[in-house]
């Protein structure tokens, strides 16, 4: 059995936006990100994985971590655009696809995973949280997450056993390039992208969710507190908001930041059903304002299960234990 390559992507920009101020979110410096990668690499190597391909981020987070391992591993540097913007992750994902790692560790928030998927849609991911409002990446100790990747890369488990395809929102924007979201697509009355964060519930017109979780923070919690919609349900949840609403939901729209939102209607949205509306508005994807829509411009969104696959760490490690991979 040939040992497969593991991809590594770290987003230097995650954990530093305006939410540090308004939402009592934590500051996540790049030294800590480097330390997380080191722990993940340690887990992977001890589970039999030793080939890595890392995206050359502008802060050398992954590269710096790999440097310490020296001869314990084989590491390939994947070039990025070097723009210190989201384009680095998108293009980096495309470049990584050519190397075709069996799975990729993504260190960042929902937005980082989204950017990666924009570059490589049918990838296999293991997203680890650093940012805020994170639903797609779960909090997990990097050592164990790395070990799961190592087990997979060394053939201890197969992708079919441990990788699950997730839901996604496809967004068509009239006359412009399409977009996507992994957890939520939000329509706001903002005029600008500005500082990107969604901090004012009064500005929100509608929310389309792939999953609505009452145990999470962010837009997913708004839907989750009305009609929970788990990841394994083959449908999304569409909320329309107004000045008055059938549901008044007091939800954490960001860490430590509760707002009361008037939800006029909450509809389960079957796969393929199109949610259509016109501008002007600003679209936010996975917690960040991303696109400014012009007056009269049409937007169509729909939920499906055609997103990337996500590695199930629990399942992988339980299978590894039952197969005595570490014994």
């Amino acid at each position: 059995m040939t040992v497969q390559t593991i991809g590594i992507v770290a987003n230097p920009a995650s954990g530093k936006d305006v939410r540090r101020l308004v939402a009592r979110a934590s500051v996540f410096d790049n030294r800590e990100k480097c330390a997380i990668i080191r722990r993940a690499l340690s887990g992977a190597i001890n589970a039999g994985g030793y080939k890595f391909a890392f995206l050359d981020d502008s802060h050398n987070i992954a590269g710096g971590a790999l440097l310490e391992l020296g001869e314990d591993c084989e590491a390939e540097r994947v070039p990025s655009l070097g723009t210190s913007s989201v384009l680095d992750t998108i293009q980096g994902a495309r470049n990584l696809k050519e190397i075709n790692p069996i799975a990729t560790l993504i260190l960042g928030g929902d937005g980082t995973s989204r950017a990666f998927v924009k570059g490589w849609r049918d990838s296999v991911l293991l997203p680890l949280s650093t940012g805020t409002n994170n639903v797609f990446p779960r909090m997990s100790e990097a050592t164990v997450a790395g070990a799961a990747l190592g087990v997979l890369a060394a053939g201890g488990v197969s992708l079919e056993e441990v990788a699950v395809p997730v839901k996604i929102i496809d967004v068509e924007i009239e006359g412009e390039s399409p977009d996507l979201a992994l957890i939520d697509a939000v329509v706001t009355r903002d005029k600008f992208i500005g500082s990107r964060a969604l901090l004012d519930g009064d500005m929100i017109n509608r929310i389309l969710l792939t999953r609505a979780e009452p145990t999470a923070v962010g837009m997913t919690a708004v839907g989750g507190l009305i009609r929970p919609t788990p990841e394994d349900e083959d449908a999304g949840l569409h909320l329309t908001l107004g000045r008055t609403g059938k549901h008044q939901v007091h939800a954490p729209i960001a860490p430590g930041l509760y707002e009361t939102l008037n939800v006029h209607k909450a509809e389960v949205t079957p796969f393929g059903k199109v949610v259509e509306f016109k501008g002007p508005c600003v679209l936010a994807f996975d917690g960040e304002r991303e696109r400014e829509i012009q007056v009269g411009q049409t937007v169509r969104m729909r939920v499906s299960r055609t997103g990337p696959s996500v590695l199930d760490v629990d399942k992988t490690m339980h299978l590894a234990a039952s197969r005595k991979v570490f014994n």
């Binding site: 530093k16 005029k191 990107r196």
Partner: protein
């Protein structure tokens, strides 16, 4: 749930009461401040009237006809702070706020372009460090400030003063070393200041501003007012001991101060990677014990929103914030072309120019119907006219006389 709502309503009511109280207070204080200002600036009033005479002489022609766009520009410049308070409106910043920020940026850009040209033509004594490219930072931050709020600037300080409300005539006069300048021609580009506008000064010493801003914040806290101070500095200055000391003390005493790092990627001619081991200056915030935030310094709305949160936090007693704005200067460290050093590539400069804050903001203002291209062009033309008038005014103004040498400066008598 009902309880939570009740609590929120109670909090809102309490906040309203506090706001009413603090407004009343500040009205009283303002009038007191005005009296103090009137006492302490008697001298400058005399000088100003002299300056006015010079201006009247040199601009008799232009007084006859004032174009409409010019009136708009003047009105917007004098307009009070129009900050959209969170929760006050569900539509974001008003059109007046958007126009005011655009005007600030455009005035900075045109002032700096003209000043740079004058320097290269040998008409300005000394060196000018131009702010072109970084306009969104000064404009987005200053939109939240009144004249009672203090700022400290850097050697690249013209943009900060323009955004704080600085007028072209006394600015050019100062650059030309004339007695009608903001500092009577004795400060020049790197020491330009104006207390009436809350501008504590540009500073030739790299990292010299933050301790002064911290001191101003200490005085605001001591006096119990709601004013804040802003320390502008660059990535190069962020390595200076003075910046660390100011940040430490500000965090220790929870002072109403915001540290705005304009990270333009270079400490003079040295790339950031060659002068510090970190890429994000905001990473240092946790070491000081304050929040650190990064925003896109080429996007005035991003700066406006992030600065708004940091300033509001400082005003309400939450303490200081380190706000890092990622930005870029289009021109050289000094002047436009500088010394022709090859420390950065033309491709890099062009890549940053594609993100130009003014172009992208104007495009969006047109899309939103806030301003038309025609209105933007008229505004630009009016700023151009105002600049030429100011340059003429400065050129016609007298130099300070030798007997004024020891006025407005600190010196030891008899030394």
């Amino acid at each position: 749930m009902a309880q939570a709502k009740k609590k929120t309503a109670a909090k809102k009511a309490a906040a309203k009461k506090t706001a009413t109280r603090s407004t009343k207070k500040s009205v009283v204080k303002k009038s007191a401040t005005k009296k103090v200002a009137a006492k302490s600036t008697k001298k400058s009033v005399v000088k100003k009237s002299a300056a006015k005479k010079v201006a009247a002489k040199s601009t008799k022609k232009s007084v006859v006809k004032k174009p409409a766009a010019k009136k708009v520009a003047a009105k917007a410049r004098k307009a009070p702070r129009t900050v959209a308070k969170k929760g006050a409106s569900n539509k974001g910043p008003s059109n007046a706020t958007l126009k005011a920020m655009h005007l600030k940026m455009l005035r900075i850009r045109r002032f700096e372009e003209r000043a740079g040209k004058l320097m290269e033509d040998g008409k300005v004594p000394g060196a000018l460090h131009l702010y072109v490219g970084q306009e969104a930072v000064a404009s987005g931050v200053m939109q939240h400030l009144s004249n009672e709020d203090w700022i400290t600037s850097t050697h690249r300080g013209h943009g900060h003063l323009v955004a704080k409300g600085g007028e072209f005539k006394p600015m050019f006069a100062e650059l030309f070393g004339r007695s009608t300048g903001y500092c009577n021609g004795k400060g020049g580009s790197m020491h330009i200041s104006n207390m009436d506008l809350g501008m504590l000064g540009a500073n030739g010493i790299v990292g010299g501003g933050p301790p002064i801003a911290m001191g101003a914040a200490f005085s605001n806290q001591f006096k119990g007012n709601k004013n804040v101070s802003i320390a502008f500095f660059g990535d190069g200055a962020s390595n200076e001991g003075s910046v660390h000391e100011a940040a430490n003390m500000a965090a220790l005493y929870k002072l109403p101060c915001v540290f705005v790092c304009e990270n333009n990627g270079y400490g003079e001619y040295t790339p950031q990677a060659d002068h510090q081991a970190i890429v994000d200056v905001a990473d240092r915030a946790s070491g000081y014990g304050m929040p650190g935030v990064i925003c896109d310094g080429m996007d005035v709305m991003a700066v406006y929103e992030a600065a708004g949160e940091a300033i509001e936090r400082a005003r309400s007693g939450g303490g200081p914030t380190l706000l890092e704005c990622k930005t870029y200067r289009y021109y050289d460290h000094v002047g436009i072309r500088g010394m022709g050093l090859t420390y950065r590539t033309d491709e890099e400069v062009e890549a940053w120019k594609k993100k130009d804050a003014i172009n992208s903001f104007e495009k969006r203002l047109i899309q939103l119907g806030v301003m038309s291209r025609k209105q933007l062009d008229a505004l630009d033309a009016a700023i151009g006219e105002e600049l030429e008038e100011a340059i003429q005014y400065a050129s016609d103004s007298p130099y300070p006389t030798p007997d004024q040498l020891l006025e407005d400066v600190y010196y030891v008598k008899g030394a």
